[in-house]
Amino acid sequence: MLWRPHHLIRARPNFDFLGKRKIAMVLSTVINVASLVGVVVFGLNFGIDFEGGIAVQVRAKQGTVQLEELRSTLGHLGVGEVSLQEFGDASTALIRVQRQEGNNQCVANADKVMKRRAGDGWGVKPGPAATGDVEFTAPRALDGVSWRDAVSRVGLTVQERQLPRGTVNVAKIEMTPEQRAEWCQQVAIKLVEDTIGNNYELRGTESVGPKIGEELMRNGILAVVATLAAIAIYVWFRFEWQFGVGALIALLHDVLCTVGLFVLLRLDFSLTALAALLTIAGYSINDTVVIFDRVRENMRRYKKMGLIELLNFSINETLARTLMTSGTVFVAVLALVLFGGPVLYSFSIAMLWGVIVGTYSSIWVASACLVYLKLRPEQLRIDEEKAEKAKA
């Protein structure tokens, strides 16, 4: 034999886990309340997936990214709030621009882009009515096809029937305010591209319009609620209702704690972060189920044991595997944190934290809930009697 296996825990340990349940409850409550307060007071740092807006990854053509210089250049661009962060290494950065509204500022920006890209004779201005209409002017009369090419310079896609008939040098493009707002994201990208394009290479751009952002947000919330409910119901059917409630509380606890981490570290809350939340929910229940499974088995075997004693016994029995299963996922996620690159960073950090919180909650939240929910009242009484005796 090459080497002997190393047991994480030698003999079966005998920690009094649930004896500390009051401390754990206080700790969990504090963290959860803090997370809630954090979300309400500071808010989540929503990525463009949910907020709408623009994200551009840039790399300096030479040297490193001049964050300060970029910040002041882009800050006065008329595209609203711009945030910058280093992304990966010092020569790359992520620029985030707030969601563009379809206001006249945006049309003025389009005018700037048009002039820069096509020449001074070109212009864009808002249409006369209070709709989303936009008026394009050209230095010479153009036919429909040329107009189509011209407006695509500012990222506008139009339908044939929106184009002017005949050969004219002013084209009014009819749009609803919503359509204009969607188009304005494109305008902002072009403007940023024109402004910093000399010194920076655009490696990737993303733009999410107002409409899709709201939708993704709604779907995201639905997904979390549906997942938690489905898991809780599954546990309820496979075990007893107390187990289902315990699992649900533990899940809520884990999700809230993770959301709290996002608030604390100002991590980008994007679609991948949502994926992390759901995965944490699906994963943290693993340990819980392993403990519950053992509790169920032991309840049949030791009918005369006190509930707390039985839970402690079960947790201790399964402790080695709880630590080991969490350990394997922990090291895998650690590799993601260390080497997965900037795009996955938020996701990986959240997962890493989720693995820790999930293990903790399996023991001190899910199992402790079984005590508070009076899983076996008659067995709980045995515990109380023992405690009385010990005091006396």
Partner: protein, 554 residues
Amino acid sequence: MLNLQRWQTIAVIAFTALAVLFALPNVLPAVVLDHLPGWYQQSRINLGLDLRGGAHFLLEADLRSVLNERLTNLSDSVRGELRKQQVPYKDITVEQGRAVNVLLRDESQRAKAIEAIRNVDPSLAVSGSGDTIRLAYSDQDLFRRKKEVIDQSIEILRRRVDETGTIEPTIVRQGDDRILLQVPGIKDTTDLKRKINQTAKLTFHLVNEDVAAAGPSANVPPTTFMVPTREGMQELRRSNPKAWDEIQAANPRMGPEQICRRYQPQCLPVFKRVIVGGEDLDDAKATFEQQQGGRPIISFTFNASGGRAFCAATRANIGKRLAIQLDNEIISAPVVQSAICGGSGIITGTFTTQQTQEQALLLRSGALPASLTIIEERTVGADLGADAIRDGTVAALVGTGLVILLMLIVYGPVFGGFASLAMMVNMLLVFAGMSILGASLTLPGIAGLVLTVGMSVDSNVLIYERVREESANGRSPFSALATGYERALTAVIDSNLTALIAGVLLFGFGSGPIRGFATSLTLGLLTHLFTATIFTRMLLSFWVRWRRPTALPI
């Protein structure tokens, strides 16, 4: 019992071999792949846009305007028909996005008015009472029309974006009124947007029957030019793919005459004069002939000026062929049977239903039926994708290494080794599964794989810990293994099903790259139920029979 029955062992081995087979096209060099059947070549994992670079658009079709326009047209037709039938009316108004309201002068004319309206469109839902008639399209009709608009838009987008036939865009419908367009390998989207805006050119020409009758050697007068037919081009594509590629790749694009001269596909001589252009075509649809057994035909309608021009041209050329040219091809050249006046006509021929549908689609493909707004755009440069691949690969390798190390330390070389082997087979199964499904591997998908690595050994942990317990309780090695596997099973299944629930819901609600994550995670969890239980059990039972250990090295 620990031992698997013989057929089980064979099944496990066969299953694994099958997985190897289906994962193989991912790593085979192109030279070898070219000699293998097409369905097998298809069994590959596509790299997602975030890894290979490219552009991703979500477009929204403005279906409301389409409906309003349709209602406006309907109100015009109803007005005309009522006038023709001499039914006096006070007013005809369009209720935006809903219906057309007709206000009659005389209530007693109601029945006659409704009859007239039935002439216009018998499928309309008619309601209202007294002197008002409310006309709306049925839900069924609206649904069908919506689908038509989206399908048509997709087809037109495909033609416009993929005119060169080389970039393999993904264009799919999403939800009710959205279209997802993914174009790999491009970074600058300005050109792509220009293409999206580009209209296919549709024109009607008369065929020069004199030249056509004289055969291929005839002199082509300057008023006439040769244009390849659609069938001709498709035949060329089949018989001479190289020529086809050359035509598609040519920049500037080849004219029809040039193509006819150089490659000599089936061509038709047509007069250069354009009788009607596509901008005058309002609609074209596949339908069936009223009489004569209901052959599939194509019916089309022109606007007023197009109708007049078409009427004059057909009246003067009965018995001759009228060529319908789309871009560089003649998609159809039916014989003019009679003068076609009144703005609409039909194309008959020996068509199948599918052919008429295709042709109608092509006729309509001049203009996009609804305006498309970009509501989401993501582009990834190729080098950014390369970075992501590198990061993902390193993370996956390091993660796998760490997990294997941990398993080897804790469970020793035999048990830890078997679990690691099972985990690697599991990865192979995931790759095979993704290849068969033709799924895309995204960066979050790689993260899903790394997580799968960590989670798939978990079931082995549960089993091994149980075996340790049973062993400590004094069972013989063989019995400890057998009971360990048996008793750990409920915990394994329960704990994995919950994670599966999360994975499936994530797939359902998620979009884009998140789906990639959900796909790899869910597949990994499913397949590992096989590798962690049956596969390791097979390995261990072989090992036990071979070594006959007196104590388990666990």
